[in-house]
């Protein structure tokens, strides 16, 4: 995973959740205040817009931590 993408994801977390804490691959919704099902929608939409990709229903469900986001981005070639 390139550093560019990591930085981009961190920026998206700042944007969507106003989260400025330590973001690592193991970070889960429990670690990020406000990461509930509604904000999950905003997160997925922002990821899609930023990386110009389209996630599937399963992928939306698959995201259980930040590592899963990176796995998915990698799969889409972002």
């Amino acid at each position: 995973m390139s550093n560019d993408v990591r930085a981009e994801v961190a920026e998206i977390f700042e944007d969507v959740f106003e989260f400025e804490g330590d973001l690592n691959l193991k970070t889960t919704p429990d670690d990020v205040p406000g990461w509930d099902s509604l904000k999950h929608i905003a997160l997925v939409t922002t990821l899609e817009q930023n990386f110009d990709i389209s996630l599937s229903m399963d992928e939306m469900h698959e995201i259980q931590n930040v590592g899963d986001i990176h796995t998915i981005l990698e799969r889409h070639g972002a």
């Binding site: 509604l38 905003a42 939409t45 930023n50």
Partner: protein, 718 residues
């Protein structure tokens, strides 16, 4: 974030740059380079290489270079668009002359990289207001532009007048509500949003909240409004749709008669995929046919009620491919009816409607003559050399004149503002192809005085402020001068190509009327009187009638293996109507199911419009003649229809049958469940104790009433 390329890649790029002249033809290699990672002197060398080979750097390459932060010499950018030229200037060393961004901030910029580069550079150069304006202008197509402007946006909002909005919808409105803030800010307002409960359209319209909102927004979507039930035959299904439309239309009419506030409603977009193939436009099961039916009824109502304003969803979303109007996974995930981009586009048009409501359209259209009113130059070509008429290319100018007449008919005042020989006015009488007459114009200034000065005089003569003017001129210099010296005048970018202009003028939303004339208003009050007479006979005049008309049923049963997952899921997901928010999972519920001293009860709600499925449930611990309601929760889908009262009543009656004499029940507040803070009290239970945050209520057989609803029939399923 621009990191450098690795040395291996850099070597490849150097090879490409050395062969730039040959690479130019095929674009491919040069287009794949991220120019932000390439040093300035390599870029200068590239341009020199091209010059040396006798090739000019093409616009696409210059655009990519400038967007990546490089500065080109002025002669190279001469033919590029104004935003690119402006960014090119910002890319250079600080220059006091470059701080006038003029109209760049109000331009639509299709190229996303260019837009983002402009926002960032403008911000970096201290043009924060312009950067924010540009981000807001293009936010609907490039939402990422707002990211660097977050703090400026917060400050900006505080300076804007508030628009207090109540948002209703049949599906999830939340993401759309988030889009309303930037959309309204772009139109000059701070949106203060209050969302109604999920799906509560009819109850809200029949019983408008007492809070004073400035406007209501009804966010309509086809699936949420009506999902075709293919178990029904065509007749029954059409009947159901018509019943729903009747209900909505009468609720809207009732709202309009009780409230002075405008209500903005988007029409339903026609579906890109038919339900009945080639018959879809007219068959009773056709999606197109049914959606047209809904839109038709809404249009009829809006024609009668001037406070009901329709937002044409097709117009709003016309920049987006119809297949991208919705995002199916978002629908299945959270009943989100439109894709993110469609939601932004709709939000943008709701905001424009609000701006029209508050400010009205501009009053005066000030029009230049040569190459704007007609083709050619009066002073050089003479009256009969001017292009305007039925033949190409004069027909494009005639079509534009026809648009000017349209705006005149819709209440705008026309004026002429031209640097010209004063005798140019004779063209309106002497040229056979010109369809406007001299007296279509209320005033004119045809002389050699600078236009910003002339427009002040025109304003004084017509007796309106210059902020009521729209100025159309084909000359970029005249437009720049007007923007610089009379910024209150609205000076849009008239397209260079006369063929584009008539359509462009129609799309200029600042000129869109929202209400036309006084006669219109009078006509609507006439309709109002007529409608009131007929409304006496119509259904759903009150909220109670509505509830009675719903024919609601609630079927209660104890949990089984089949229903267990849904009950666990409800415990996990329900936030609002949830008295204690204890998150029992499947194994917890299973344990209760197997325990005789525990009870898990669920209710299936339904009405004449269809089934809502398992919508409410409770878990109860029973100890002899005492019982405790551990959890009670309900899906938002059925809030506000007395299902909760019916359920609680039936549950208490059942417990009584089992010998229970007292029942305790708690309310534990969370951030989201304030709507049930007084639920037990309203149902007649007595407050008996408090424990920290928790309030405990009690129901006693004999002395406490058994809650019930007149409008919900309950029965137990064994």
């Amino acid at each position: 974030m621009a990191k450098n390329y690795s040395s291996e890649v850099e070597a490849l790029i150097d090879a490409v740059l050395a062969q730039a002249a040959s690479c130019l033809q095929d674009k491919a290699l040069l287009q794949s380079i991220d120019w932000a990672k390439i040093e300035g002197d390599k870029v200068s060398n590239l341009l020199k290489t091209l010059d040396g080979a006798g090739k000019k750097a093409p616009p696409w390459l210059l655009t990519a270079l400038i967007s990546a932060g490089h500065q080109m010499d002025e002669p190279r950018v001469e033919r590029l668009s104004l935003p690119l030229k402006f960014l090119n200037r910002l890319n250079g060393p600080a220059d006091p002359d470059s701080t006038t961004s003029l109209d760049v901030a109000s331009r639509r910029i299709e190229d996303k990289d260019l837009a983002l580069a402009l926002v960032k550079q403008m911000k970096a150069r201290g043009l924060e207001n312009d950067a924010l304006q540009l981000a807001l202008t293009n936010w609907d197509t490039s939402p990422q532009l707002m990211r660097p402007m977050a703090s400026q946006m917060k400050e900006h909002l505080e300076e804007l007048p508030e628009a207090r909005l109540r948002v209703l919808g049949y599906s999830t409105t939340h993401p759309f509500c988030e889009d309303l803030a930037p959309a309204f800010a772009g139109a000059g307002f701070k949106a203060v949003i209050d969302e109604a409960n999920f799906g509560e359209v009819i109850p809200e319209l029949l019983r408008p909240a007492e809070v004073a909102y400035d406007a209501y927004i009804l966010y309509l979507d086809a699936q949420g409004f009506h999902t075709h039930d293919w178990r029904l035959d065509t007749g029954a299904s059409l009947q159901m749709l018509n019943d729903k439309i009747d209900l909505l239309v009468s609720a809207l009419a009732s709202f309009a008669s009780q409230s002075a506030h405008p209500i903005f409603i988007n029409t339903l977009p026609l579906p890109p995929t038919p339900a009945v193939g080639f018959l879809d436009q007219h068959h009773g099961d056709g999606d197109n046919a049914n959606i047209k039916l809904v839109n038709e009824r809404l249009s009829e109502l809006a024609a009668q009620q001037s406070q009901i304003v329709l937002i044409d969803s097709f117009v709003a979303m016309s920049g987006i491919a119809p297949t991208s109007w919705s995002d199916p996974k978002m629908w299945f995930y959270g009943r989100i009816p439109y894709s993110a981009e469609a939601s932004r586009a709709l939000a943008g048009n709701f905001a424009k409607a609000w701006r029209a409501e508050k400010n009205g359209p501009p009053k005066v259209l000030a029009i230049d003559l040569d190459n704007t009113m007609w083709g050619g130059i009066f002073g050089e070509d003479g009256v009969h050399g001017l292009q305007c008429g039925d033949d190409f290319p004069g027909n494009a100018f005639k079509a534009m004149q026809s648009e000017f007449l349209r705006l005149k008919n819709q209440g705008m005042i026309l004026a002429i503002l031209s640097k010209n020989d004063p005798t140019a006015i004779t063209a309106f009488t002497d040229h056979p192809g010109i369809i406007l007459n001299e007296d279509d114009f209320v005033a004119h200034r045809i002389n050699w005085t600078p236009k910003p000065q002339n427009i002040q005089e025109l304003a004084a003569e017509i007796n309106v402020g210059i902020d009521s003017f729209v100025f159309l001129d084909d000359s970029p210099h005249e437009r720049e001068a007007m923007r610089a010296l009379a910024p209150q005048v609205y000076t849009p970018e008239l397209p260079d190509d006369p063929a584009q202009r008539p359509g462009w003028l129609r799309s200029l939303s600042k000129t869109w009327p929202i209400r036309l004339t006084k006669e219109d208003a009078e006509r609507s009050s006439m309709y109002l009187a007529r409608r009131k007479a007929s409304e006496m006979q119509s259904s759903a005049a009150s909220f109670e009638d509505y509830l009675a008309g719903l024919e609601q049923k609630l079927i209660l049963e104890e949990v089984s293996h089949a229903t267990l997952p849904r009950i666990a899921q409800m415990h996990q997901k329900t936030n609002q109507f949830n008295l204690t928010t204890k998150r029992f999972d499947e194994s917890d519920i299973k344990a209760m199911m197997d325990d005789d001293s525990e009870m898990v009860v669920l209710g299936r709600a339904g009405d004449k419009f269809g089934d809502h499925g398992i919508s409410i449930c409770a878990t109860i611990a029973i100890d002899g003649d005492k019982a405790d309601l551990k959890t009670l929760l309900m899906s938002c889908r059925v809030i506000g229809r007395e299902v909760e009262a019916a359920f609680l009543g039936a549950l208490l009656a059942k417990l009584k049958e089992r010998g229970v004499k007292t029942v305790t029940a708690s309310y534990i507040p969370t951030e989201k469940n304030v709507i049930v803070a007084d639920f037990y009290g309203e149902q007649g239970l007595t407050k008996s104790a408090t424990k920290g945050d928790e309030t405990i209520y009690e129901w006693r057989e004999g002395s406490s009433p058994v809650p019930a609803s007149l409008y919900v029939e309950t029965l137990w399923h064994s």
